[in-house]
């Protein structure tokens, strides 16, 4: 159990590439933090800096009130789950779990107890004498988790642990990881590029872009009030629609409630309604380009009158209109996200 504090962390590679530029983050004890961002945003580098697998070139990192900048990974009291599991292929599952404990000099009965406990928790008790290659992907994933569990560390580090699993298993493991983390109350840092994973797992979500933090907050905060254009575009699927203020003004649809300085207006696909709501709203007309039924919901791709800009609309159930038909969309004024393109930030008014 530990608090992790990052203070102005920097990572500059020998070639001069800056992977992480000034990240400060205070992670509370027992919190599950998810780092999310596009590839190359520095999220994995940051995680590996915490793990001790990458050197820290600037700033301080402390785990449990201890500055660990120069400590070896094994001395940082962390455990890591790797993307490719990184199980030792020549060792049985039991030895895979026990290896780190043996290196720590933990007594044999204690190793036995912890391995059995972790195996029971992860339901891998039947495979303890098998080698990793005799296991399925999901089972290997559990073993990798078990290897982290037995160490009883003060923090778990997950590096895209579910990306090698098929979709169904991924959901199942996601739920299990969350349950396990809640039960153990261990501080966790989880890296993913899958935003659904990020939204569902996180206590707090950290969106990274180009080595910097774009926004930190609970998943719902980030979804409902993205502070930057990047976060607005990154969180939410289908992505938020962006309409220029000039277009709205030309169509006479520009609401006067938006703060000054707004030149781009974001609208979530699910805030675009097919029938006018009672509350104040703006209306846009266009033409249906494509209908995309996706089970419980449907996506309607609309091209707006006047500039043919494509817009995505999400509705529950099945659409009743035809492709090519004219359509009018209504957006409550409260659901608009005002942005300024020059600063790339939300305009608050």
């Amino acid at each position: 159990m530990a608090r992790i504090v990052m203070d102005d962390l920097h990572k500059v590679y020998p070639g001069g590439v800056k992977a992480v530029t000034g990240i400060s983050l205070d992670i509370a004890d027992g919190e599950m933090i998810v780092l999310v961002g596009p590839s190359g945003c520095g999220k994995s580098t940051l995680l590996r800096m915490v793990a001790g697998l990458e050197t820290i070139t600037g700033g301080t990192l402390s785990i449990g009130d201890r500055v660990v900048n120069t400590l070896e990974p094994a001395d940082r009291d962390i455990a890591m789950v790797f993307q490719n599991y990184a199980l030792y292929p020549h060792m049985t599952v039991y030895n895979n779990l026990a290896y780190g404990l043996r290196n720590q000099g933990v007594a044999k009965p204690e190793i036995e107890r912890r391995v059995q406990e972790a195996a029971a928790m992860l339901q891998i008790g039947d495979y303890l004498q098998r080698k990793p290659r005799a296991l399925s992907g999901g089972q290997r994933q559990r073993v990798a988790m078990g290897r982290a569990l037995v160490r009883e560390p003060s923090a778990f580090l997950f590096d895209e642990p579910l990306s090698n699993l098929d979709a169904k298993l991924r959901v199942q493991m996601r739920v299990e990881i969350r349950q396990l983390q809640k039960r153990l109350g261990t501080t966790s840092l989880y890296v993913t590029h899958d935003q659904l994973e990020a939204l569902t797992l996180a206590d707090r979500l950290v969106v990274l872009n180009a080595g910097r933090i774009e926004q930190v907050g609970t998943p719902m905060e980030l979804y409902q009030r993205p502070e930057t254009l990047f976060v607005a575009g990154f969180i939410g699927s289908p992505a938020m629609n962006m309409i220029e203020m000039g277009y709205l003004r030309d169509r006479g649809a520009a609401p006067s409630t938006l703060p000054a300085g707004t030149d781009l207006v974001g609208m979530r696909p699910d805030d675009m309604l097919l029938s006018a709501p009672a509350e104040p709203h703006l209306s846009l007309s266009g033409r249906v380009m494509l209908l995309e039924p996706a089970g419980a919901e449907s996506h309607i791709y609309v091209s707006l009158d006047g500039n043919d800009q494509p817009i995505t609309v999400r509705i529950p159930g099945l659409p009743t209109m035809q492709e090519g038909a004219a359509i009018t969309l209504h957006v409550p004024l409260g659901a608009l996200h005002p942005f300024n393109t020059a600063s790339g930030r939300r305009v608050s008014g």
Partner: protein, 282 residues
């Protein structure tokens, strides 16, 4: 490319059988020759059927030797060859494992430079550097010793290269997992890399054992004491050493005996050997 084609199968088998025939025939002749009486070869016709002197010839080679023909009993020569081959194989593997480990896993100055230096020595086999090497060994008073026989041959660019290539295929996450698990460099080497390399080590062992066993020029140069003769050079001495006609029946018996240990090594390590050359356990 596997086709169910009668003619193709026939042709493939024909070529294979021809190939096997070409390889096996000289060996067959050697075995046959070792079973005949001394005079048979002087008639100029090579017999192709076994003779009746097998036991006699082999027991003479094994138990008596022919000191007049420059051949001590074969037992000692086989032992010398075995010691030399073992020391070379084990030494080469130990040194190349460590140097490959250093080159792949440690960041030190001129790392690539050192790798290329090692690699370039591939182009300098014993025969090329034999005079200076002999000089060095002689000055170190290592003539007529096992150390002199083996140490100059132990450095191996081939094995270093092979192990380097293998180590580079071991996922980096394996090293990172080991670091998180508290394994230092040597512990990682011993607990993770070595067990993963077992099949490669076996393959290297077979190749290097045979390399050491077949050394001819080097032992010929640095041994003058019969107690350090190896069997391969011993055969040569038997052919040229006598003042009479070479005793072909004894030479061939020695040849057959000298070929046995490498064959045994291959037979015993075949499974690992093939595995080491074809697959990696990951």
């Amino acid at each position: 490319m596997v086709q169910n084609d009668r003619f193709g199968t026939f042709l493939a088998h024909l070529i294979l059988i021809l190939g096997v025939g070409i390889v096996v025939f000289p060996v067959y002749v050697a075995v046959i020759a070792s079973t005949h009486a001394p005079g048979t070869f002087l008639q100029g016709v090579m017999p192709l059927l076994p003779g009746s002197h097998a036991i006699e010839n082999y027991s003479e080679v094994i138990f008596q030797g022919r000191s007049t023909a420059g051949a001590p009993p074969i037992g000692l020569m086989l032992w010398n060859s075995f010691v030399m081959a073992m020391m070379i194989a084990v030494g080469k593997i130990a040194i190349s494992l460590l140097s490959a480990f250093a080159i792949v896993y440690f960041r030190f100055r001129f790392r690539i430079f050192f790798f290329w230096i090692i690699f370039i020595t591939l182009m300098l086999p014993v025969e090329v550097r034999i005079v200076p090497t002999f000089e060095v060994v002689a000055n170190l008073n290592l003539l007529n010793t096992y150390a002199g026989l083996t140490i100059p041959l132990i450095a191996s660019a081939t094995a270093t290269f092979l192990f380097r290539q293998f180590f580079m295929t071991v996922p980096e996450e394996m090293l990172e997992a080991a670091r998180v698990d508290g394994a230092g460099p040597m512990k990682f080497f011993r607990d993770i890399l070595l067990p993963l390399s077992v099949t490669n080590i076996a393959a290297m062992f077979v190749i290097m054992f045979i390399y050491g066993w077949n050394q001819y020029l080097w032992p010929l140069l640095i041994t003058s004491d019969e107690g350090y003769y190896t069997v391969v050079m011993g055969i040569q001495r038997m052919v040229t050493g006598a003042d009479s006609e070479p005793l072909w029946h004894l030479v061939m018996a020695t040849v057959v005996l000298a070929a046995l240990p490498p064959i045994l090594v291959i037979l015993f390590m075949q499974r690992l050997f093939v595995k080491g050359l074809t697959e990696t356990e990951k």
